[in-house]
């Protein structure tokens, strides 16, 4: 379009980027400063930087255990999500009696946010005997409606002739999904993996409710508990914070395109 000065745009965006980044810097700075973190005035650049607080974290909490718990719950969630959602998405591409009722049900379920289910969800999981277990932590997130629709849209785009050909070759529906359709629905799968990873990895409320023993705590829970035990009297809290954030930021920067695509298609579809 026409000619206009670019510097005001850069200025505004630099300011916005600054606001988005400065909080990270402030915590990073605190986590590597060697002095008393409550000294006033606070230093802008860490004086005498050292990794002592990071060492403290390893002694203060079972970081590896929390990390393992988070990984196990996320892996269960992601695998269950891809399998269940792909199956349900495939069903919705077929014609069958009661399809519109199922669609209505899915759409109305989307209107029930998780926060409004916590009391019964706790009681139900208790009745199933799954409180304080990996399965119980992952179960409520086993299937997600948004991702079912993402799969459905992706399957719908596959030419029917290909599926018919596979069927004539004698493939079962199960094999058609996994051998013919899934390789063609890679972007839907990436979307689902990323969304379910973010949801389970960052989830705080459900682990807070459904775990009792210290052994079962996931990273967000460990972080919140660490805060409540130690208050914010030590820089180790901020070192812990950085240790939790670093893998997430790294993953985001590596798979940025997929993240953005996944989150927008997830949102645009529902």
């Amino acid at each position: 379009m026409g000619k206009y000065p670019r510097w005001p745009i850069h200025l505004a965006l630099l300011a916005a980027s600054f606001v988005m980044l400065v909080p990270f810097y402030w915590v990073l700075k605190t986590s590597i400063s060697g002095e008393n973190i409550f000294a006033y005035p606070p230093s802008i650049i860490p004086r005498d930087p050292n990794p002592f607080y990071y060492v403290d974290v390893w002694y203060a909490i079972p970081f590896a255990r929390f990390f393992l718990n988070s990984v196990v719950v996320s892996v269960i969630t992601i695998v269950a999500n891809v399998v269940l959602n792909a199956m349900a998405g495939y069903s919705l591409t077929q014609r069958f009696l009661g399809k519109s009722a199922v669609l209505m049900l899915f759409l109305s379920c989307m209107m029930i946010p998780f926060q409004t289910t916590i009391i019964p969800a706790y009681l139900i999981t208790g009745k199933l005997g799954l409180l304080d277990s990996y399965l119980g932590l992952a179960l409520p997130m086993f299937s997600t409606i948004i991702c079912i629709f993402v799969f459905k849209a992706s399957f719908d785009a596959i030419p029917r002739s290909l599926i018919d050909a596979a069927r004539i070759d004698g493939l079962s529906d199960w094999n058609i999904i996994w051998k013919v359709m899934m390789p063609l629905a890679k972007s839907a799968m990436a979307t689902n993996v990323i969304l379910s990873f973010i949801w389970s990895w960052n989830n705080f409320m459900w682990p807070l409710i459904a775990t009792r023993s210290a052994d079962m705590q996931t990273l967000p829970l460990g972080l919140a508990r660490f805060l409540s035990y130690q208050e914010d009297s030590t820089g180790a809290l901020y070192a812990f914070c950085i240790m939790v954030l670093a893998p997430g930021i790294l993953l985001f920067l590596l798979a940025q395109r997929e993240f953005v695509q996944g989150l927008t298609s997830g949102a645009a579809k529902g």
Binding site: L13, V27, L107, M111, Q115, T116
Partner: protein, 303 residues
Amino acid sequence: MRRPHFKLRKSTRKAVLIWSFLAPSLLIFFLYRILPLGWNVLLSFQAWSPMKPAVFIGLENYQEMLFEDEVFWQALWNTIGIIGSAPIGIAIALGLALLVNSDIRGRDIYRTLIFLSYPLMTVAVAIIWRWMFDERVGLINYVARMLDLVDKPIPFLNSFTWALPSVIAANIWQMLGFYMIIILTGLQNIPGNLYEAAAIDGANAFRRFLRITLPLLKPSIFLCFVIGMLNSVTSFDLVYVMTAGGPGHATEILVTYIYKLGFTQTRFDYAAAVTVVFFLLLLGVTFTANRLSGGNAGAVEID
């Protein structure tokens, strides 16, 4: 005679297959969406705790909530405040999306930096902002004191006036990138020839924004609003970690109140009644937003 029989068997087999593919997902949604909704309603009319048998008490829970419980009202207003603050974030995001959508160098980098905060763990974000708002050595107080804006540091998260705005600011900070990306997608879907036609007709940039961009962005904007509200699990994490609902109940929101009622006071029945009201509130706001946006915010293209 054999053929129709065979066909029937084949279609039954197909139906069984389809339903067995749907069954696991349906089971999860039944267990964790439908059943909880019904159970909440049932529980809200009862006096019940895990050790005692349930007694039907009609509207007593609701009576207590609406007429005697000041914390409930405080939490309700705070929740409405947080939902009502979303337009501020969306307005800022709209501005940023317009800027990022221009053909300047490095716009992908700006986009990444602004989006970065959204997918991160909210508990960690809450700890970051606790530290930013810290009374003694938080950056915000430090800068305010450097610039002589305040005489003495403001204890943001311990102040009845400042605690809620502080939590809202942190919430907007985290949601900003998400709003921006959604609006950006909407912007990029507006056909460019509309602008060319308007420019030929002599409409200036401001009029073009008002008459073309804004109306065509309406669905994206309301999508932001609805998703932002329904996904505001973030606000539970933020409030729980930043202030735990305090000072007093200054930052109590309905979700944190439900959590406290259920899991620290073991009043599941009363918590269920509060949940029902919370659910109706969300439903009402979504419905209104949907109507205002022209009826298809968050709609799924079924076929």
